[in-house]
């Protein structure tokens, strides 16, 4: 190392002084690594390879696409938009006033026809449109520590503006997300029989076990002047409040569904379900839609035609590409390693 040092123009004098004694100490050690001669696989992009890759992708993708499409087709889904219907005719002019008036009882009845047989479990979702659960102000407005641990109820940082009550005592659960909890309710009857909605196990298990404490109870919740969404039963620990747990997993997009409950009963085609719902939640301010969704599920989840179609399209495209390259290869083959393709053979005038 002594010979190498700074790059300043040091005419600091020449030195011929002795490199002789340490002659071989500077000899680089030979190893395949340092000489960059490690055994290496050097794949070549041959037409054969290209064609087989595309074919392979096609062979894998098309069956997946078919399977996904089939799974999606087996899912039965009932979607019912009720926010416009559940407003008395005289109030349609001022929906916001209607929904904000606590004195009006907002019960509403809907009849849903089952288009096909639906096997249990049937999932009940509510779908909101144009609701920005992913807004930064909204997403950040929570405090995980407080939800998990009863001792940390005072930790309300980040919960602005739903942090504390007027007198300064902390709100549990704090923050905008919890405050704006969805509060429409649904009751289902099939014929005369009540279809019970099971609200257990609609949230992630890990959320119930690790994220929402079993000894944390709501405190000072929805006590402010400004009412948000649903109230919570202050005697029920947070890990039992599954609606809240589901709601607290903020959606990625402004249109989202959230699980409301499960119906453990098979439904037959053309059954008519009567839904008695309470239309409490204000989506009218921002022209949001509210929909009730009943859906079965497959191994893939809910109805999702897109995945299958995408797989089929890409699989098909790959088959097409494989064919195209085969044709190219047959029509205008380039012999591998054909020296006539070297640049100096192609334009002999020089580079």
């Amino acid at each position: 190392m002594n010979s190498s040092s700074g790059s300043a123009a040091g005419p600091s004098s020449g030195s011929g002084d002795g490199s002789a004694p340490r002659r071989n100490s500077k000899r680089p050690k030979y190893s395949k690594f340092t000489q960059q001669e490690l055994p290496a696989c050097k794949p070549i992009l041959t037409p054969k390879w290209v064609i087989s890759v595309f074919t392979l992708v096609g062979v894998i993708f098309v069956p997946i696409g078919i399977a996904a499409l089939m799974a999606s087709n087996n899912v039965v889904e009932i979607v019912d938009r009720y926010d416009t219907e559940c407003i008395p005719a005289n109030m349609t002019g001022d929906k916001v006033a209607y929904i904000q008036n606590d004195d009006i009882i907002k019960t509403c009845t809907r009849n849903l026809t089952v288009p096909k047989d639906m096997d249990q479990p049937i999932y009940v979702y509510y779908q909101l449109d144009n609701f920005y659960q992913n807004h930064r102000r909204y997403v950040k407005s929570r405090n995980d520590a407080q939800l998990k641990d009863a001792d940390q109820a005072n930790k309300t940082s980040g919960c602005d503006p739903e942090k504390t009550t007027k007198d300064g005592s902390p709100i549990v659960p704090c923050g905008l997300i919890a405050w704006s909890l969805f509060n429409d309710t649904y009751n289902f009857t099939l014929g005369n029989k009540n279809l019970s909605v099971n609200k257990n196990g609609i949230s992630w298990k890990s959320d119930r076990d690790h994220k929402f404490g079993k000894d944390v109870f709501p405190k000072n919740f929805q006590n402010g002047i400004l009412r948000g969404g649903a109230s919570l039963d202050s005697n029920k620990p947070l890990n039992k409040q599954e609606d809240l747990i589901v709601w607290m997993r903020t959606a990625a997009l402004p249109t989202f569904r959230k699980l409301y409950g499960k119906i453990h009963q098979d439904l037959k085609a053309n059954d008519i379900i009567m839904v008695t719902l309470e239309n409490n939640y204000n989506t009218y301010s921002f022209n949001g839609k509210k929909k009730l969704v009943l859906s079965t599920s497959s191994w893939l989840g809910g109805k999702n035609d897109f995945l299958g179609i995408a797989y089929l399209t890409i699989g098909g495209l790959c088959f097409f590409l494989a064919t195209a390259f085969t044709v190219v290869y047959l029509v205008k083959p380039r012999k591998l390693g054909d020296p006539s393709y070297l640049s100096w053979n192609r334009n002999p005038s020089g580079h």
Binding site: P28, E162, T250, L336, W344
Partner: protein, 1223 residues
């Protein structure tokens, strides 16, 4: 130190030398005083009274030198400043500052940590480099020199302690510690020899003479009471001027550069000198010459900056879009979003002040989309380059066994620039040649002696052999020939088709340094049997007598070694000794030769009285001695350039002229340095008449003295009788012609810039095949114009302009496509050619010529030529040199390469790369340069691709969140993306990628052209990659959004939340970019596999670990893989789909490109892969030879030319034969 007085020390050289200036007499007081008091001439030195220089105004700078950039205090601010000169770093610094405020979309650590890491790493590198500089300075500063302590006692002191005014004693072969005034030397007349290699690269010794008055100060004691006052110019960088006077014993004497010994030059052939320190440390001329080494950046990096500017623009644009969107949404929509409590907000989201919120959001957005600017790019590139440099340092094939030095990449900034070099500017001495002369051949009385072939001949014959006989080509020309030179000997005789025999006898390693001659006709006294024995005798005498060397008795061997001013002369003396004419003693007036006519005889010592010595200079190009032999006969012995000697032959002296000139041509063609030897018998009267004139001329006082002496000398040097000619091989360094040949074939242009004489330079041009017979030499020179007046200056320029125009005409009119031109220009002419109005003309002429040789150039001019080429052609220049005189050029060029040979370290210290031999340049450029260029180019492209693909998804998602600045990814993912998850694969690409193996790189020099033509980092490529990134980002985002739109994504019926979508999207990105890099790579060792697939695995491992951590850390990502995504087939099928779709366009593109438009490296790779090179050797060989650029220089071109010439001859012969038969 006892003074050893040797006999030769007593010589009075001043009496012998013809052109030695007589000491000017004492100056009259009134003449000098006004002269030395103006500004610029204020320095006063109290000799031997250094204590007087302790306080102002005489407190000059100390002799401590420092070339470091920082010191302990300035390091932090200065180094930080350097770091934040990079635009991207400033951006990240601002981002880090802002990240502490609530405006930031991320937590502050994720911004600060990477920045601290990047900046810290770069600063650590700076600190290390500066430490090494400091260490080197310390080594120099602590060298010891003997200094007068008072009372006539001398003691050793480190250099840094020396003060102005100190009297120092410097011993033989030591460097001068500062600029000194020479007081006296071990020679009685106060001369000393100085080697200025480190200053100007000239290897011949220079004579310095002290003033007559200080000659008496010749031992330690004499300095007890010595005082004098010296007034001189202020420190300045002019090496060749010095103005000052010395007031000593109440007399004032004028001083000139002859009395000044410069720091960093070396005392030679003189046991010791005494001197007074005039300039110390940074005041010394050599330090004044030093320029701050510029920090160099490669072209790719400069272009990368432009890309970063483009990305910045994109960043600002999308931030603007995002902010406007946000402001609009905040104003019109947010009041309706009761769930955000719009009436109770901070100004970040205040619907009543949308503009203010928008402005705040702009800041947020700039940080959020910062992932477009790859912060880790700089640090990754730095890491990659350091590793690449390590590979260069570790290359066994660039290790020189003899010197024991490996190649060194001293800065790692320029690795990729090595792959784009267009022009090489090379020094000659020590770079191309070893500066060792070997007496190889001679022509005496029209007979050529000496059977050994020069290296050029061997190389050319070798080439001829392989080309003409069609024998299976050797594996690697360079190596094989290199080995030949190293010592595989043998004789090969090559017969060409047309019957011309080329005899090649390869040399034994010369047993005697400087003597490779082999011919029994002359050796061992056999010459006495030759027909022209008397001429041969004269030839040997001229060799032995016509010189200025000093013999030195070697006690070990009993023989003599010679200390000559030039290596040629040494070679002549050694040759004369071997022939039996041993120069053994020199006295004031005589030279003694031990002559031995046959091996059995005892030598006879003969004395030749030296009457006059007519010195060599570059204008005269000859030297003569006039001697009186033992018989009283006066003879003028002359050696000189053939053209000069031939002009001065007498009528009856031309007996051997034709034969000799034929031989001279042959020698020249063989790359040898030639001199013609002649003599003239004088009778007494003629001599004494001339001598009177001569003495008169010599004692003339005035400026025309030298001209007069020359004129008188001229009178004597005529009517010569030609004896013969010598051919000396200026030993080229090993493998130089082959290397030049290969580099030329790789399309590089080679310029030689040398401080040497024009003849020497031309000879070397021949030797290393930059010039050849049949090449048209365009010589630009301005002669005999008085340069003092303004008009003359103008005239000179006009003259030069004319010459250039004529040369252009000549090139234009040339019909022969094989014709090659060589441009030769000397330093004086270059001064004009480099002026603004002519330089472009000059450059375009030079570019049209196959080789360019600039002789007699000063270090400054070397740098100026380099700058001209660099700026004029806009292409990458590489300067290679070994001496301090090359420092300017090395620093000026885009890449400076220092040869760490035997000479000083200056060139190496200033260089970016150091190699121990010129021939390693080939491997450095063609293998390492080529690889590094491709690696860095691919790496940067990929980096931009990857960051665009990632960064834009964040932007798209914004549109779905009301432009609120919420990121779809967890902060941790974003932090890890650049630092952990995608950095190792790209580093492995940058370090290990090889498109073809090193052998193939060397076999197909044309592959190198991909660099200078910038095939892999052109704008087309870069934009292509950016589009690839754009399409990947769109694909990743849209497919994921569509898949997770609103339905349940798993069998449990739960719907996907922000964390699930973000994690899936991120998984897709990790897969897509890693598969993409796998598609780019051509070369997979286990390392690449480990890094690429390891990165993917690392992501899953991280996800599991993150999921297991406490929910207060992981938030919504708690157990996301194990509970939510892992069991969901949608997650895995989305990954597969997105990865495939992202990479299909690229796959289609490269498949298409390979089918229709394969690059050279693709085809060669295929040939190699299918072993076609083994099956079809003919094709392989043919392509290898086609891959060379058509060159006009290098021995391949030379052989081609020779073959053309022979064919032409044969053709003529055949046609004349036909005519003959017909008639």
């Amino acid at each position: 130190m006892a003074r050893r007085v040797r006999k030769r020390d007593r010589l009075r050289w001043s009496l012998l030398y013809t052109f030695a200036c007589a000491r000017p007499a004492v100056l009259a007081d009134d003449e000098q005083t006004p002269f030395l008091q103006g500004p610029g001439y204020s320095r006063i030195v109290h000799c031997n009274q250094s204590q007087l220089h302790g306080k102002k105004p005489l407190d000059y700078s100390s002799n401590y030198i420092s070339t470091t950039r920082y010191n302990a205090i300035t390091f932090l601010p200065k180094a930080l400043f350097e770091q934040f000169r990079r635009v991207a770093n400033i951006y990240f610094l601002l981002a880090a500052i802002i990240s502490i405020t609530p405006v930031s979309p991320f937590n502050p650590m994720s911004m600060i940590a990477p920045l601290a890491f990047v900046v810290g790493l770069s600063m650590a590198k700076e600190a290390l480099e500066d430490w090494r500089r400091f260490y080197q300075d310390m080594k120099v500063n602590s060298r010891k020199v003997s200094v007068h302590n008072g009372q006539g006692q001398f003691g050793y002191k480190p250099w840094q302690k020396i003060r102005v005014g100190d009297v120092v004693k410097v011993e033989k072969d030591r460097f001068f510690p500062a600029d000194l005034l020479l007081l006296s030397s071990s020679y009685e007349d106060g001369i000393c020899y100085v080697e200025t290699m480190n200053l100007d690269g000239e290897t011949n010794l220079k004579v310095k003479r002290s003033l007559e008055v200080t000659l008496a100060l010749e031992d330690d004691e004499a300095f007890r009471d010595f005082t004098a006052t010296l007034r001189c110019e202020d420190p300045n960088p002019n090496l060749y001027t010095f103005v000052g006077n010395l007031e000593y014993e109440r007399q004032v004497y004028a001083l000139d550069p002859n009395q000044v010994l410069l720091r960093d030059s070396k005392l030679r052939n003189t046991s010791y000198i005494y001197g007074v320190v005039i300039f110390t440390g940074h005041d010394s001329k050599v330090m004044q010459n030093a320029t701050e080494s510029p920090s160099k950046r490669s072209r790719i990096e400069k272009k990368m900056d432009k890309i970063i500017y483009i990305l910045f623009t994109v960043l600002v644009l999308i931030s603007l879009v995002s902010s406007i969107g946000f402001a609009v949404m905040t104003k019109y929509d947010m009041p309706n979003w009761w769930f955000l409590e719009p009436n109770n907000t901070t100004s970040l989201y205040d619907p009543s002040k949308p503009v203010l919120s928008g402005v705040f959001h702009m800041v947020t957005a700039l940080i959020l989309y910062g992932y477009l600017i790859p912060i880790s790019l700089y640090v990754s590139i730095e890491v990659v380059k350091v590793l690449q440099a390590t590979f260069i340092n570790q290359d066994v094939l660039m290790y020189d066994e003899e010197i024991g030095k490996p190649a060194r990449a001293r800065t790692s900034n320029l690795n990729e620039e090595l792959g784009q070099v267009d022009t090489i500017l090379s020094d000659k001495t020590g770079t191309l040649t070893c500066n060792q002369m070997d007496f190889l051949k001679c022509s005496i009385a029209g007979v050529s002696y000496g059977v050994r072939a020069s290296e050029v001949e061997i190389a050319a014959a070798k080439q001829l052999a392989s080309e003409a006989s069609g024998s299976p080509e050797h594996h690697d020309d360079t190596e094989e020939l290199g080995e030949d030179n190293a010592g595989f000997y043998g004789t090969s005789e090559i017969e060409l088709a047309n019957g011309i025999t080329c005899m090649v006898e390869k040399s034994h390693k010369p047993a005697i340094k400087g003597f490779s001659f082999e011919d029994d006709r002359l050796m061992h006294g056999n010459w006495t049997n030759e027909p022209a024995a008397s001429t041969i005798l004269m030839f040997f005498r001229i060799l032995a007598l016509c010189q200025t060397a000093i013999p030195e008795h070697n006690k070990e061997t009993g023989g003599f070694t010679y200390e000559a001013e030039s290596p040629d002369e040494g070679a002549f003396l050694v040759a004369a000794r071997e022939f039996g004419f041993e120069f053994c003693k020199r006295t004031q007036s005589s030279v003694f030769i031990r002559e031995k006519y046959s091996p059995s005889e005892d030598p006879v010592e003969r004395e030749f009285k030296i009457l006059n010595l007519l010195e060599f200079n570059s204008k005269r190009k000859r030297m003569s001695v006039i001697v009186r032999d033992e018989g009283g006969q006066i003879i003028l012995l002359c050696k000189g350039a053939d053209s000069i000697i031939f002009d001065r032959l007498s009528k009856n002296g031309r007996l051997y002229e034709n034969d000799t000139s034929k031989h001279l041509n042959e020698y020249g063609e063989a790359g040898l340095r030639t001199l013609a030897l002649a003599y003239r018998m004088l009778d007494e009267s003629e001599y004494s008449a001339w001598n009177t004139d001569f003495l008169k001329a010599k004692t003339t006082i005035g400026p025309d003295r030298e001209a007069q002496v020359e004129r008188v000398s001229e009178k004597m040097e005529r009517d010569l009788i030609l004896v013969g000619a010598t051919a000396v091989e200026d030993k080229l360094q090993r493998g130089v012609p082959q290397c030049i040949d290969k580099l030329a074939q790789a399309g590089l242009k080679i310029w030689v810039l040398t401080g040497d004489k024009i003849e020497t330079a031309i000879n070397i041009g021949f030797a290393c095949s930059l010039l050849r017979q049949g090449m048209k030499q365009i010589s630009l020179s301005i002669t005999n114009i008085d340069l003092l007046t303004h008009d003359a200056n103008k005239a000179a320029k006009e003259n030069l302009s004319m010459q250039i125009t004529n040369a252009f005409q000549m090139i234009k009119l040339e019909k022969d496509p094989d014709a090659a031109f060589a441009l030769i220009i000397d330093g004086k002419t270059l001064t004009y050619a480099l002026e603004d109005d002519l330089k472009n003309q000059f450059l375009s002429l030079a570019v049209d010529c196959a080789s360019v040789i600039c002789c007699r150039v000063s270090p400054k001019q070397k740098a100026m030529v380099t700058r001209l080429v660099k700026e004029g052609t806009g292409k990458v220049t590489l300067a290679v040199g070994d001496g301090a005189n090359d420092v300017g050029m090395i620093q000026e060029a885009d890449i400076g390469v220092g040869i760490s040979g035997v000479e000083g370290m200056q060139a190496v210290m200033a260089s970016d790369f150091s190699i121990s031999q010129f021939r390693f340049l080939e491997r450095l450029l063609v293998v390492h340069g080529h690889w590094c260029y491709k690696r860095i180019a691919l790496m940067i492209c990929y980096f931009f691709y990857k960051n665009i693909a990632f960064g834009l998804t964040i932007f798209y998602f914004e549109a779905y969140t009301g432009f609120s600045g919420q990121s779809v990814y967890d902060d941790w993912y974003m932090l890890l993306f650049n630092v952990v998850l995608t950095s190792l694969p790209v580093i492995s690409l940058g370090v290990f990628e090889q498109d073809v193996s090193s052998e193939v790189c060397l076999q197909f020099p044309a592959l190198y052209q991909q660099g200078p033509r910038d095939l892999f980092f052109g704008w087309y490529r870069i934009i292509g990659w950016m589009f690839n990134g754009l399409s990947a980002s769109i694909i990743i985002f849209l497919l994921n959004i569509a898949i997770f739109y609103h339905g349940a994504f798993c069998a449990g019926g739960q719907t996907a939340d922000l964390a699930a979508v973000g994690t899936t999207m991120f998984t897709c990105i990790i897969w897509a970019v890693n598969v993409q890099i796998a598609l780019i790579m051509n070369h997979f060792t286990w390392i690449q596999h480990l890094f690429v697939w390891g990165s993917v695995v690392a992501w899953y491992l991280f996800l599991v670990a993150y999921g297991l951590s406490s929910p207060t850390i992981s938030g919504n990502s708690h157990q996301i893989l194990s509970e939510a995504l892992g069991p969901a087939p949608v997650y895995w099928s989305a990954t597969l789909l997105v990865t495939a779709v992202c990479n299909i366009p690229y796959l289609v593109h490269i498949s298409f490109q390979r089918t229709f438009n394969p690059l050279d490296n693709h085809v060669i790779h295929e040939i190699k892969h299918y072993k076609k090179d083994v099956e079809d050797q003919h094709m392989w060989k043919r392509e290898k030879s086609k891959a060379r650029q058509k060159t006009k220089i290098g021995f391949t071109a030379r052989v081609d030319a020779k073959i053309r010439q022979l064919r032409g001859k044969l053709h003529r012969k055949v046609s004349s034969l036909t005519i003959h038969t017909v008639s």
